[in-house]
Every structure is written in C-alpha cells, then in structure tokens.
Symmetry: C2
Subunit: 359 residues, 2 copies
Amino acid sequence: MAVTPNPRLTKSKPSERIKIQDVARLAQVSLSTVSGVLNEKDNVRPETRQRVLDVIAQLGYTPNLFASNLARRRTKLIGIIVSDLLNPFFAEIARALDMQAREQGYETFLTSTNFDSGQQCAAVRQMLSLRVAGIAMMTSENDPEAFFLLKTSGTPAVYLDNNHSAPHIGTVRVDKRHGMFVAVEHLLQLGHRRILLVKNSQQDAAAPPMFSHMERQIGFEEALHQFNASDMDVHIIDEPGEPAAAGLRAVERALEHYRFTAVVAINDLVALGVFRGLQAAGLSIPQDVSVVGFDNTYLCRYLHPPLTTVATPREDLARSVLQMLHSYIDGEEQVREPMLSASIVVRESTSAPSSIQAL
Amino acid sequence: MAVTPNPRLTKSKPSERIKIQDVARLAQVSLSTVSGVLNEKDNVRPETRQRVLDVIAQLGYTPNLFASNLARRRTKLIGIIVSDLLNPFFAEIARALDMQAREQGYETFLTSTNFDSGQQCAAVRQMLSLRVAGIAMMTSENDPEAFFLLKTSGTPAVYLDNNHSAPHIGTVRVDKRHGMFVAVEHLLQLGHRRILLVKNSQQDAAAPPMFSHMERQIGFEEALHQFNASDMDVHIIDEPGEPAAAGLRAVERALEHYRFTAVVAINDLVALGVFRGLQAAGLSIPQDVSVVGFDNTYLCRYLHPPLTTVATPREDLARSVLQMLHSYIDGEEQVREPMLSASIVVRESTSAPSSIQAL
DNA sequence: CTGAAAGCGCTTACAG
DNA sequence: CTGAAAGCGCTTACAG
C-alpha cells in the first residue's frame, strides 16, 4: 500500500499558520468566544477574555483579514487614492486622511496614480476588490472609466474638486477660484502688470484638462478683468512634466521672450522650480520678480525667501471627506457638498515691482 | 402565518453584489471556467474566454479579493512600510518599490509609521492580517516588538539599514558610513575645520537611537579622525521634531553659541531647515557657511544654491529589496545581504571657507 | 456565556 | 474543456 504523505506535514507555510480554532482549543473556549474577544463584543467575561488574549499573544496569532472580511461581508476600510506622493500637497492630504480615519476605527489603504488614467482605473479596481467601505479620490486627473466603475459598484466615494456625482458619490470643493483671485489681486495691488502664470499640465496631451487647474485659471482671469488696468501684460505658459522641473523650464523659456515682474505658479512645487529658474538667471526674489505659489505646503516657509502662497486647508478637507464618506456609508442620499475656502498667506516672495519701488 | 421577508430582498448592498456564479450563469459556463479566465489560465478556449470577459464587463464584476485570497491561501501582495511620507526620501523609495513590484505582478500596500514604534507594530499587524507575501520595512525606527511579530509569523521581510536578521528576514544596506565619510572629507579638503553636524532624533526620547543615524555619525567621526587636523572644532547638535523645523532650530541655537563654517545635515530635509536658518540670519551659502545634505532627494537641485549632498541610490535599493524578498518567498535560506554604495554629489552649497578664500 | 452549523465567494484538485 | 464538491478561516444567528 502506498503511503500518501500527510499534506499537513509536507506543505510549508500556509498550513502552519495558526487559526482561530487553535486559539479556542488552547484557551478551552468556543470559537464564538474567541471571535467575541477579537471583535470586542461585550458578552465575554473579563476573566475568559484575558485567558483568550493570553493564548493569542503566546501563539502570536493574527486573524486572517480575508476570512473575517469575507464572513462579515463588509469592511472597515477606506481607500485613499492620490495623484502624486512626491507632491507634499498630496502627501499631507494622505497623512491627514489616514490619521483621522484611524481615529474613527477604519484602516486605510493608500495608492498613487502618478497622474495616469490607467493607474487611476487600476487603483479603483484594487479598492473595489478589497470591498472598501469608501474611497477618497484625491486626484487631479479624472478618468471617466474610473468614475464609471465607482458608479456601477455602488461604493461610496468622494472626489476632490471635480464635478462628478451620483447618489453615493460626491465632491469636496476648495474654493481655488477665489484663492487664485485673491493671489492675483494681491499682485495687482502691489503694482504688478507684467504677470506670468505657470501651469503644469498632465504628461498625456490627450487627457482632458484638469478641473482644478481650470478653476484656478478662471480665478486668475477674473482678477485681471475686475482690476481692469489698461497697461496689463499677461502671459500664460503651460509646461508638462514633473512640477518643479516644469517650473524651471517655464521660466527659462519665458525669460527669452518677454519681461515680467511677477510669477503665479499653479502650485508650490512649480513655484520651487520657478525660484530656481529666476535665481539661476541672477534675478532676486522679490526685488526683480515676485512669486506666488499655491497650496501652502510645508516647503513654503523654508524657501529663500519664504513663499507667498494660497492656503488650502488640509485638515478640514480630510475631515469633510470622511464626513461625507460616512454619510454615504450610512445610506444617506442627500449629502451636502461642502466648499472650503482658500486664503492667501503673504510671506516674503512678493513686493512691489522695482519700477514702482524706485519712485 | 407570519411571512418572513426574504433577506435577499431586504438587505442592501452586500447581497446585491454580483459574484462569480452570476458570471458563470450568464456566460453559460462553469465556475471553473470563469475562475480560469480570471486567473489567466491557458486552459480556456479563446472564444469561451471572450464570452466570459464580455459578461464580466457587462456586469461590472469585480472579483472579491477576500474570497480569492482566502481560497488561494497565499497572496501576491507586498507590504511597504515607511517612516514618513512627507520626506521625499521615503516617498521616492515607496514609489520605486511600488512601480517595480507592479511590474513583477504584485500589488502593494503602503503604510507610514510617522516614526512611531506603536504605529510600526500596528502596520506590521495590518500587513500580517493581509497575509502579504513579503514586507519592505523601510523605516528609520526599529521596534523590537514589530521585529518579533515578523519573526514569529514567518513572513519574509527586508529591513533598510538595520541589524535584524532571521531565516526569512534580512537587511539591505546603503553604505551611509562611507557616504558620510566622503562628505566630511570633502569639507575638510576645502579647508573647513569648524563643522557642525545637525542630527534629528526621534520625538520619543525613550526610543533607542536609529541605526542609520549611528552609521552616519561613525562615518563623520572616522573622517575627522583620519584627517587628523590639529585645529579641528566640531559640534554636534541633536534637535527633535519635524526635520526641516529641527534644522532651522538647530542653526538658530548653534549661532548663539559657537562659530562654524560648515554644516553637515543628517538628511536633505534637515538641510532645508538649515538653509532657512542661515539665510534668515543673513548668512550666505556657501560664502559664509557651506552646507552638505544627505540622500540626494529631488529637492536638492531646486534649492538656492543647489545642495551638495550624498546620493543613496533609490532605484537600486528598491530592486535589491524586491530581489531579497523574492528569494525569501521562494524559500531560500542563504540570501546575500547587499551593500549599496553612496556617493557625494557636489553642487553649489559648498566652497572653501571665506577665511581661506580671502588669502 | 457556549457549541454546532451555515455561509461568505472564491480556488483547486478530481472525475468526467 | 466542464461540473460537482471540498475547503480556505472566519462571523453570526440560533438553540441551549
């Protein structure tokens, strides 16, 4: 008779893993009791509870999340999707969401898309496979297929500054238009007329323009229009690529073609590159050229000179996103979409243009 | 007779979710066939395969990762744990690991610990619950309990610059000691003798010193020792808190107490704060004080002046980590622990001290 | 508080 | 290529 080897013994890791049965046996309680302890139900006597906890510690038991979430048919998971972890704006949002969600008893999963539509879809699929309770879609890009996936899945989701909506999908807005308006107004009031706006579009030329960029540009134009100075000379340059590199290249190119006394960068990282471009050309900030950024990331206060920028409230934003997500998760249909305000933070990178200072 | 409502109809979302059975029924094939299509097995006729894919698309079906991973008893998941997503060094490592792992057919999960031991443990537990195939522990802090959890779990793991090991746990080293040695040598050769080393320890004073910081300090001291100049005047200052803020405070404090012509920052973000501190005090870099950073993050080339720093190869590091992880996953016991080299990148933040320039 | 049992949605031999 | 069946490790009523 052939002896078939016991698979329990020949197999490696997987079957060695200890499970809830092992804990129950060693602690001499039932499965339900261990499960109760694990899930902090209040129907376990403290003494029993302690015994179970001891066995768990002794065995180094870790519950299998796949088994428990499968059995439970819902999860306490929030998926966070951002465009770019290297941009402190997104890193700060991700951190705020992560910390706040944990306080509320959720675990989080973080993925970045690198501004790529394909990766955005893949990220959504991953989150849906994980059956997350909700998704914080903190991206600039905006793939229609990703939205479609979310919509048909019925999974609650909150976008950042986009115009998507569905019964379980909403948007948190930051009033970037007004933020930009105020920033430009600040420059105009200082006396600037020759202003350069530096944008940083997606690599993919075929992709639709980013909503949040459009908003900012509208704010920019509104300010110019309202101020209505006759001697205005405004240029807009749109450089693709990594934001800091784009800011640098934009300035290099602009300096060849026209004069300007102030630069508005579409975000702080672009402003970083703008700084370098100006300084490499021997221009001083703000004496020769004033610079305004956008987002008020932690970088601003460490630049030389410290960067005047527009603050978009990160903590409030995270709070609003989670609040909306909870509403959707609870099945509410009419969820208010908040609009957070943006405000200017004046530091040392802006001053009156030197032609005026000379007066 | 009371009529019990059909739970299928009263329950909301969970039971509405379509599953593999629904796909099988609509495509008129068996469960195994759908599963085969999903997992790209080659035993399905192209025609059948297409029919199944069509139904999947039509239904918007997303496989339940919990069910499949539970049934499979293993995952294609790599857990990435970093200390701080706001530090570009960690963000760049996370991105490199993520991209490379995906190319190799793995999904990744990213968590950050914010340099906190408790959060490091929690992160490990989360990863173990997910039954990840391997863990990339890219942290500066180093909690013994987290290591214990990993060790007893049997899960493959690779640390960054630590001295942990087990049959399935290893370390990738970057020769930070030599990197620091070269950086200090560079300053000494330029003629600097009054040198300030700015470190940035963990918030938690009770925590043990970070291995990678110790390595750097040893390299620092070795260089001084080998150069053996008689007129050496070296200070070391250790400031807790956020790295950039710490660098700034360290310089403010140091300027009150002693003179120095060069600063070595323990990392680029600390150097950013050092820049600000010096520039706020009206000192120019490198004319008055030279500054060297560490890590060669993307920031360096955009600072004013561009920062001389020590490059630690991010892509190679990610490659080595994944390679080791794969070896452990394949059950190899004797895995080589690579040592990657670090090299200095001289930019414009270092020059001879002005006392020498004046000669 | 306990125990036995059904079920979560997949995968994977196995016999056709 | 297909279909029926067992099993992954939990949770959750349910009857005691």
